[in-house]
Symmetry: C2
Subunit: 401 residues, 2 copies
């Protein structure tokens, strides 16, 4: 049988067999929106997670990391509106209470429940309202869409997808949901992502596959250079599709499918950066090695001056070169070629004359592509970001008050 991927129309994190979700308005920040959700599986799952690299970790991150040591889980409880970060001992007690309430509701042990919180830092969770909310959540096979909305903070649209895969190991589905918007930067951000699959997956392979997928997707997006204490990407695999066990030896196709789901969700997060009006893709090739290419692509994609210029459709490519130059990647100006969309603006270190109006018009599209050819080696990488608008500042200057 030939292998193939198919994107499922209106796919969600509950598209794979045996996953259920639901959400309620628990009045964590306001009465008007969904802000508390549960994702669970009918059967116990093999599980893996990748978490924030920030030295300050939110209580839910610490607790989920602890529960994931056993490489298994069956449910996740998620709230928006309060990050339960920098909340001391009582914050940890609140996170434990969230997992305990869900375990009780679902008849699981507390250790099988993971938890994630996103929102304002340094404010205690309204744990009574959360407990009441958990008891009211109705779990359904179609609940993924509600969950996607309940996770949103300053996001302007829900981010979810699912793909079905036909392979020699059997057919299976991978679903995913993410939230992002601000505090988004390489090495994770206020970024939550939950992935599900009904494939049967070896637990160690699941962890390494997840890390690889995160490295080429969520770790290559940037909104504002700020990272969050709450970043979480978790995958649950329940085996209900009865595939052969997918492992290091036969997992290439699973890895490709997982990369695809993560990349789609990561680009949604970049595109929906706070105040953003367009997606910026930065392609770097010819770096000395992949690490330098990644560094260069991420620094260019995160430069406020580059982002502001692109917001104004301004072909001010000098800022791109200046950001590249400070990235730490080895650059030889005399070998450098730079493209904005399809227009070459710098060739071997010298400016190439171009029609400013024409390039500006092309930059006015919803997606802008920058290509930097360093011509020094074989290192390649792609990073994604968004433009910087006045709206970003407006959103972020009155978030708590």
């Amino acid at each position: 049988m030939e292998s193939s991927f198919k994107v499922i129309a209106s796919g969600s994190v509950t598209s794979p067999q045996g996953f259920l979700a639901g959400a309620v308005k628990a009045n964590i920040k306001s009465r008007e929106k969904l802000d508390l959700a549960i994702l669970c599986s009918e059967k116990p799952c093999v599980a893996a997670g990748v978490f924030t690299t920030n030295a300050i970790k939110a209580a839910p991150v610490t607790l989920s990391q602890k529960h994931l040591k056993a490489r298994k889980a069956q449910a996740v409880v998620i709230n928006s509106g309060c990050a339960n970060a920098c909340t001391g001992d009582s914050g940890m007690a609140d996170a434990v209470e969230m997992t305990r309430s869900v375990a009780e509701k679902l008849g699981l042990s507390t250790e099988d429940v993971l938890v994630a919180s996103t929102g304002v830092i340094g404010v205690p969770l309204p744990v009574e309202r959360i407990r009441a909310g958990i008891s009211q959540i109705a779990l359904t096979r179609d609940g993924g869409h509600e969950l996607a909305r309940a996770m949103m903070t300053t996001d302007t649209f829900p981010k979810e997808t699912a793909i079905s895969v036909e392979s020699g190991l059997g057919s299976f589905t991978i679903g995913g949901v993410a939230k992002g918007a601000g505090m988004i930067h390489p090495n994770m951000a206020t970024m939550l992502c939950f992935l599900t699959t009904d494939a049967t997956v070896d637990a160690r392979f699941l962890q390494s596959a997840l890390q690889k997928a995160v490295d080429v997707s969520f770790n290559m997006i940037t909104v504002d250079g700020d990272t969050s204490p709450s970043d979480t990407v978790v995958i649950l695999a329940n085996g209900l599709a009865k595939t052969e066990t997918i492992n290091e030896g036969n997992g290439e196709l699973f890895q490709k499918a997982l990369d695809k789901v993560c990349l789609y969700l990561a680009k949604c997060v970049a595109r929906d950066g706070e105040g953003a009006t367009k997606l910026i893709e930065v392609n770097v090739d010819g770096a000395l090695d992949e690490a330098q290419a990644r560094l260069a692509a991420r620094i260019v994609a995160s430069s406020p001056l580059v982002k502001a210029a692109i917001h104004g459709n301004d072909p001010n490519w000098g800022r791109v070169v200046a950001a590249l130059g400070r990235s730490g990647a080895k650059v030889n100006e005399r070998k450098l070629d730079v493209y904005l969309n399809d227009f070459c603006v710098m060739k071997q270190g010298s400016p190439v004359p171009f029609d400013k109006q024409e390039v500006s018009t092309s930059l006015a599209g919803k997606e802008v592509l920058m290509k930097l050819c360093l011509n020094l080696g074989e290192g390649k990488a792609v990073a994604w970001g968004c433009d910087l608008s006045e709206e970003y500042v407006t959103i972020n200057s009155d978030y708590t008050s």
Copy 2:
């Protein structure tokens, strides 16, 4: 004689004996503003410089570095409106031509003239207009103020100062002028600074004293995290005050005075960040060492989310802690104390209740002080930045077009 510092009223880079300056409107970008200036000394000077760490260096930087190898200089020519960066071989020829024109005008050798250009990257210098402008510049003892204005790009006010010093080695004066505003970040930025003194200074000591002064001042300010290919800080010492020769052994007071001048100018640059409405000072103490303290202070001062919150007088201190957490400095949340102005908002990792309105009112001042006590070691540092306003984006989204 007791040593003392005195700030000179209306001091400028030409306050020390024997320095002259002048500027003209050379129509480099528009006919409306001064954009070309010369600073020179009546006598040859011992000279030192600190330049951009960006891998992409503007032609004037490369040329000035070459001329400074001899540790002497007698004049500097400066233009705004065009950075002469990323301009290939012809850019270098244009930089050489600027020094040649000035050398001819002043009867110096080309090697005694330094050059600095600031403005748009990737655009050729209008070298004919610059040559014509150089011939028209009238040099006067009071010309420092004109020079300060001619260096400005998006700066909203000229940045200049001078202090007179009484010391056991004799009396002398140090003057200085700077420009900045955007592309300002630790490790230098689109930042030009020229310093002058009539003290007699040993050439090697002058270089090390300048590097030290830059490390505690210009390298600790940040506006937007972007650094520029054009960053230049140069000092000229002409010896006309006939002090004893100041060197490593007796230079402590000179170092203090130079630090003071650089710190004043650096804070002016931070305060005048593009679109800024206030100065932010970030004090870090108790870090494991000074390097970690510097890292932490600079990352917090450059966080877009911190800067946007301060713009809105929003005491959202979680963002301060999140930025600290990603700085790379060792942090133990349980030991961390955080202050916004005089208000303690986090003590040993737990939130401290505060009156939000009261703190917000205090943040509405022109200067905001953050203090982060890591309580791990003896490392201390101070960084300066500014708030992030909608105006920053507006300024930077239509700079060239």
